[in-house]
Every structure is written in structure tokens, then in C-alpha cells.
Amino acid sequence: MNRLQVAIVDYGMGNLRSVANAFKAVAPDTTVAVTSDPAQIAQAERVVFPGQGAMPDCIRELDARSLRQAVMDATQQKPFLGICIGLQMLFQHSEEGNVPGLGVYAGEVKRFPQAKMVDVHGEKLKVPHMGWSQVHQTQPHALWQEIPDQARFYYVHSYYVVPDETALTAATTAYPFDFTGAIARDNVFAVQFHPEKSASAGLQLLRNFVNWKP
């Protein structure tokens, strides 16, 4: 088996083709594959950890495929990109189904509180938070290269991460309060939005990930 440059972790929760398509578009010479083989993930140069659906199901399916260890190892060893639930699962605990996450980072995954979802004009904000919102970069990072601060990315989620350590946050988005839109630590970068669906800004972030040397 050839060593993959980018392994996209497949644990059976939804369609990962758009993530793979986006990598193929930005890095046509890179070997990219969607895989549920722990050995292939262990050997890959870079790991992408996407996710959609409900977090309890994601954790269950990850364990059903014996992928937890491969993912945990990747967070310690190589360039790692978490997307959406793939960000949320890195934390200790989620309000969604009241389940423990992988616990790579201390913190909680919370639901947008319906009662507080009103903007400055008194307009009701919908949950899920679905659409293009501005992403404010709170620390410089290789993955933000060529992406303007406050660029808009596509979000679709009802839960968001609250890291214990605020220094983990790499970007915030206001909806209506500032929540963590991205985190960064050593070889790990993870985002709540969907770069694979965020047009040119999203594609640039994926291109940056392929070239990233943490």
C-alpha cells in the first residue's frame, strides 16, 4: 500500500466525498483518500478528521471501527485537521447526548442557548447556525495564510466548543456572542466551519494545510 499524503478518516457518518473533492481540486498531485483503515491512517503524512451528524453517534461509530487510537495518535504526531464534529470530538465532553469526547483538550461542547439568540437589532438568530459568517483570526497561523481576517466561511452547526484554555482558540465568530470557530495547538488545527464548502477562502485553507510544516 502506498503511503497516503492526506488520509481522510471515514467512520461511516455521512458523505466525505466533498472533503476529498476539495483536496483534489487544490492539490491534484497529492495522494488523498477517504479511509477507515487504522493502519493507513497511522502511516499517512497528514490526517483530516471530519464529521457530521450527532456527536454520540460519531463517537460510537469511531469506536465500532476501532479508529479511536489512530485518531488520538495522529493528534500527537502529524499535521491534523479537524472539521465540524471533528473539532468537537477533540474535547472532553458534549452536551449533545451528554457524552464524553476524545478528551485531547479540556473543555465542553455546548448548544447555542435559544434564549440568547438575538442580534443587536433584536432580530431572532436561528439554530442551527447555518450560512456564511465572518471568521476573526485571533492568532497568526500558517493555515490563515492568504486568507483575509474576517473572511466568510460556511457554518452549519447547533453546538460549539468552549475550550478551558482560551489560548487554544485561533478564531472566533459572533453569533451573537463570540464562539470558538477554530483552535490551534502544535500539529493540530481544527475548525467548526466547513472549508470544503467555503468557496475560495475554504480551498485556500485546505491548500495551506497540505503545505503546512508544523
Binding site: 455521512g14 458523505n15 466525498r17 466533498s18 473533492n21 476539495a22 483534489k24 481540486a25 457530521q52 451528524g53 450527532a54 435559544q114 439568540m117 442580534d119 443587536v120 432580530e123 431572532k124 438568530l125 436561528k126 439554530v127 442551527p128 447556525h129 447555518m130 450560512g131 456564511w132 459568517s133 466568510r152 460556511y154 457554518y155 452549519v156 452547526h157 447547533s158 459572533a174 453569533y175 451573537p176 470544503e196 464548502k197 467555503s198 468557496a199 475554504g202 480551498l203
Partner: protein, 254 residues
């Protein structure tokens, strides 16, 4: 500080071609779906909706191929609807590259499909499409119709919207049958009534004839996204012109 209001060009697809009708009838050809999708993407569309308007079983595979081709080159959300009858249909469309699947007639015939699909794939990818028409013979104002607008259901569109959200719909695509293809503007009272009754985003559809209609869809109708077909297909306006116009009128756009 919320989300930018989305502009969603809608591609009605039949026999592998994009078409457009008036009041759900009189179809005319508007071009190749992949080419049109690419053009709207380049113009800055926030999302694309494909509706398989014939949705026979032969047609089903055709739209899957179209979605696959579009998803390889376009990196914005894609919604696909038309003829979704089973959870398995939802899975096939998602696997072809759809980000969201829109369910219309089946939601009425078998609401369990909405609940099961949302439970399995998440509410974020389940859009319930509601075709509504103003009626005089009911104790409510707007009635839900199915089968491409042919069959009345006796259901109140506002209550129906709430029920669909309670079953797990993550978004509602509300089409006014009275307005579809007429170019006289969205049915803003209908959209407003539904938007205020639910917490999920609402896409307004049916009746756009000019850019002011898009603005009113948001400011009067309370829509989170505005969907239009003919004003874009026949080159009257580009998506970029629509965004510029909305921005000039104080609406947050991407």
C-alpha cells in the same frame, strides 16, 4: 453579526437539462446543469439548489450523475430535491455529493422519513420543502400542496412547518405556488408567518422578478435565504448584481 443572507440560484432539472416553468407548468429549456452551476459559483452564489422535477426512476440516476459532476468542481453547499421517497434515497443523494436533501411530497405522505433521515444523517442536511397556496375554503390562510402542486392536503402551511421542524427538519424551503414564475415578488406574509413560527432557517422561493423582491424577501418576509431561478437563468441579473443591490439596501451578504 448573524449570517450573511444567502442567495441561492435554483436549477430545476429534467432529463438532464435545466428548465423553468410558470406556476409549475409550461417548461422551457435553460441549459446544461453543470455549466450553469459553474457560472453561478463564479458569480458568487452562496449555495445551489437542484430540483429533479420529473423524478421518475430513470431520471434518478441522471440527477445522481449530475450531482457527482457538480460536486467535483464546485465548493459551496448543494441541496438536491425531487422524488425523495425513502431514507435510502437521501443516502444516495448525499453520497453523490449533495450537502442537503430536500423532501416535499414524501414528508406529507410519510413524515417518518423526515424523522428517520434527520436522525440518521443529522438535521443539518434535511430540508423540508413546502409548496403552499392561498385558500378560501379552510380555517387557515395557506394550504400545503404535494405532487408538484397538484394535490391539496388540508394542512395548514404554518402548522405543518412547525411539525416538520419538530421531526428534525433543519431548514425549510417555502414556495408560494401563487407566485412561482410570476415575477411579482415573494409571498412575504406567508414567509413571515412561517419564519416567526420556527427557529430554523427559511428559504423563500417563488415569484422573484427583480432585485427589490430579493431585498423584500429578507426585510419584509424574514427569510434567511432567497431562492431564484429565471432572473439568473436568462441573464437578466448576475448573482453578483443581486448581492451588490442587497448590500446597498443594508442587507449583510457574503
Amino acid at each position: 453579526m448573524g449570517c450573511a443572507k444567502r442567495i441561492i440560484p435554483c436549477l430545476d432539472v429534467t432529463d438532464g437539462r435545466v428548465v423553468k416553468g410558470v406556476n409549475f407548468l409550461e417548461l422551457r429549456d435553460a441549459g446544461d446543469p453543470v455549466e450553469i452551476a459553474q457560472r453561478y459559483n463564479d458569480q458568487g452564489a452562496d449555495e445551489l439548489t437542484f430540483l429533479d422535477i420529473t423524478a421518475s426512476s430513470d431520471n434518478r440516476d441522471l440527477i445522481l450523475h449530475i450531482i457527482e459532476r457538480v460536486a467535483e468542481q464546485i465548493f459551496i453547499p448543494l441541496t438536491v430535491g425531487g422524488g425523495v421517497r425513502k431514507v435510502e434515497d437521501v443516502r444516495r443523494l448525499l453520497n453523490a455529493g449533495a450537502d442537503k436533501v430536500s423532501i416535499n411530497t414524501t414528508a406529507v405522505v410519510n413524515p417518518q422519513v423526515v424523522e428517520d433521515a434527520a436522525g440518521r444523517f443529522g438535521s443539518q442536511c434535511i430540508v423540508v420543502a413546502i409548496d403552499a397556496k392561498k385558500v378560501d375554503n379552510q380555517p387557515f390562510e395557506w394550504e400545503v400542496f404535494t405532487h408538484g402542486g397538484r394535490n391539496p392536503t388540508g394542512l395548514d402551511a404554518v402548522k405543518w412547518a412547525q411539525k416538520m421542524v419538530s421531526l428534525g427538519a433543519g431548514e425549510l424551503l417555502v414556495t408560494s405556488m401563487d407566485r412561482d414564475g410570476t415575477k411579482i415578488g415573494f409571498n412575504n406574509p406567508l414567509n413571515k408567518a412561517i419564519s416567526e413560527a420556527v427557529d430554523v432557517p427559511l428559504i423563500a422561493s417563488g415569484g422573484v422578478g427583480n432585485l427589490q423582491h430579493l431585498v423584500e424577501g429578507v426585510t419584509v418576509g424574514g427569510a434567511d435565504a432567497v431562492l431564484a431561478a429565471s432572473i439568473f437563468h436568462y441573464g437578466e441579473f448576475t448573482v453578483q448584481q443581486a448581492k451588490d443591490y442587497m448590500r446597498e439596501h443594508g442587507i449583510e451578504v457574503r
